[in-house]
């Protein structure tokens, strides 16, 4: 099995620093944050520009070029509800180190992003939801099948569809956690790749608790077959847990210095 893929989530327009940098098209703060995440062990960098209704295509093109040129063509996840912006980003994207990821499609309004990914030979994150949180795993599986069918009809390799089970917040949806893990197991049994917004689980908990919950969740999810997560790679505790879990899963050969590489 391949190593777990960490998609660094820290270039996000919710962050005031990043929001300002995107407004001003100031490369330094964005490059700095990309480099920090790569240094910390991220494979992919997520670029969330928000809806960017005004200048989406222009902004995404600029962001893709800025980050890839400064960071040895690091592979990117293009994260926006603005489809034109994703297409524009892919048009200037360098594939040397990996295909672009379209973040994201779902079984509802955003299902056409599957077609977009297929047409551009990209990976797509496919949310197993339609509108709101699915009530159970049967519902999740229906959406998963819809998405999979759509992708395969469009000629996608199923390995390029990374299914997102939707991690749920522990504080409020504690009783649903095992169901999400079970669903990851179902995806894995089907041989499918999976990813998701890991830190959702610890939303609203005290700051010192978050890494503990995130780390436990990722370890349990990797045990069930999770192949990737969208997360903060600068969280050392979670990264160590992922590296150790990769060792236990025999995805990566043990050496005494395994945490350093």
């Amino acid at each position: 099995m391949a190593k777990f893929v960490v998609i660094g989530e820290r270039i996000h327009c919710i962050s005031p620093t990043i929001k300002k940098a995107m407004e001003e098209m100031n490369p330094e703060p964005i490059i700095k944050r990309a480099k920090e995440q790569i240094e910390a062990g991220a494979t992919y960098i997520d670029v969330n520009i928000g809806p960017a209704e005004k200048n989406g295509p222009e902004l995404m093109k600029w962001a893709v070029k800025t980050i890839q040129e400064a960071c040895n063509n690091v592979p990117l996840a293009l994260d926006t509800s603005n489809r034109a912006a994703i297409e524009a980003g892919i048009s200037v994207y360098d594939r040397t180190n990996g295909k672009p990821i379209v973040n994201s499609a779902d079984a509802g309004d955003r299902i056409e992003n599957i077609d977009l990914a297929a047409a551009n030979d990209a990976i797509v994150i496919a949310l197993c939801s339609k509108a709101g949180v699915p009530s159970d795993n049967d519902e999740r599986m229906v959406y998963c099948q819809e998405l999979l069918e759509r992708g395969m009809n469009e000629g996608m390799d199923p390995s390029d569809m990374w299914f997102d089970p939707l991690f749920l917040v522990i504080k409020g949806m504690q009783d649903k956690q095992m169901a999400v893990l079970d669903f990851i197991g179902q995806l894995s049994d089907m041989g499918l790749n999976s990813t998701g917004g890991l830190s959702n689980v610890s939303n609203g908990t005290p700051k010192y608790i978050r890494p503990i919950l995130d780390a436990a969740t990722v370890a349990m999810a990797m045990c069930r077959g999770l192949t990737s997560a969208i997360m903060n790679p600068c969280d050392a505790r979670v990264m160590e847990t992922i590296k150790a879990s990769d060792i236990i899963k025999n995805n990566f050969l043990y050496a005494d210095s395994f945490l350093e590489i």
Binding site: F252, Y254, D256, I261
Partner: protein, 313 residues
């Protein structure tokens, strides 16, 4: 429906490492397919064979070796003859006499021998040490200095001395080393990590993951080689993408089959042909497992293995 063959190539590949200088320099590694899977993609470089000589010459009790080296008496003449052996790509000088528990040849003498050998040949030179960590540390540092810029390969640095050996051999004098891990795959990777953390360029070292004669624990070598190649290619583990050199002869000529005389074991037949058989079957096995270079002793073994490689490339 017609069968469509899918080539099993990988996006990762084994590093290329060059030893020697000039026209006869040899590059090993570079492939992006499982060992010898030339039907999946052309192998980037030929598997290299070294002709082994020692600091005290060659074993003339074996008629095949005695006749090949006939008339070559000084170490320089022997080295020259070895460098001309059909099928051999480099000369491997084994400084067995340096062992403190044996002849204990002083470092200065070993350096002198290494220089004479180096001066006598135009093919790359690989030097194997005494296998005593302390002695080899001093030996490799002095040889690296004396043969600065010759791009020789020193076999091997171990966990106990890799820092000193890498600092002098590679960083100070521009030679190459192999990192030895004695059939311990986790140590093999760890040594590569430590060397890379020293800032050593991955094109400056190879691995010696250990060897054993066929029938003497070879199954451990086989599983180690398999796991290394799987990690290097299928898991794209940069810390295991170094090419592998295996000193085969030192193992195979030290086991009972290659030592006991025909007088003592008349049913076993000629000692020389037994030794060659052990050397050939072990070498073939490590090459099939992923070794990018082997060191062999007998001209007949070298002919057999070079023929095998040519047929499979």
């Amino acid at each position: 429906m017609a069968f469509t063959r899918k080539a099993q190539t990988y996006s990762s590949s084994i590093n290329e490492v060059t030893i020697g200088t000039g026209d006869k320099a040899v590059t090993i590694g570079g492939s992006n397919v499982m060992p010898l899977y030339s039907f999946d993609a052309p192998l980037k470089n030929k598997i290299a064979i070294g002709a082994e000589i020692t600091d005290s010459g060659v074993d003339r009790t074996l008629p095949g070796i005695a006749s090949y080296y006939e008339g070559a008496d000084t170490i320089a003449e022997i080295a020259k003859r070895a460098s001309e052996m059909p099928g051999a790509d480099f000369v491997a000088l084994a400084l067995n006499g340096a062992d403190p528990n044996g002849e204990n040849r002083p470092v200065e003498e070993c350096v002198e021998i290494a220089k004479q050998v180096s001066d006598a040949i135009d093919v790359p030179l690989v030097i194997t040490g005494s296998r005593n960590v302390e002695k080899d540390t001093a030996l490799f540092s002095s040889i690296a200095e004396a043969l600065q810029g010759k791009n020789v390969l020193l076999v091997s640095a171990k966990e106990e001395n890799y820092k000193t050996v890498a600092a002098s051999a590679i960083m100070a004098y521009g030679n190459k080393i192999s990192a030895e891990s004695a059939v311990d795959i986790n140590l093999a990777k760890q040594l590569n990590v430590l060397l890379s953390q020293m800032g050593i360029n991955p094109e400056s070292y190879v691995m010696n993951v250990g060897s054993a004669a066929a029938g003497y624990g070879y199954d451990y070598v086989a599983s180690t080689l398999d796991r290394v190649k799987d990690a290097a290619l299928a898991q794209n583990d940069a810390m295991l993408q170094m090419p592998i050199i295996t000193p085969v002869s030192q193992e195979t000529w030290a086991v009972k089959e290659s030592i006991v005389s025909e007088e003592d074991y008349p049913d076993w037949g000629s000692r020389e042909s037994r030794g060659v058989d052990m050397e050939v079957c072990t070498a073939a096995a490590v090459i099939a497992g992923g070794s990018d270079a082997v060191i062999l002793r007998h001209p007949q073994s070298i002919a057999a293995i070079s023929g095998m490689i040519a047929d499979l490339m």
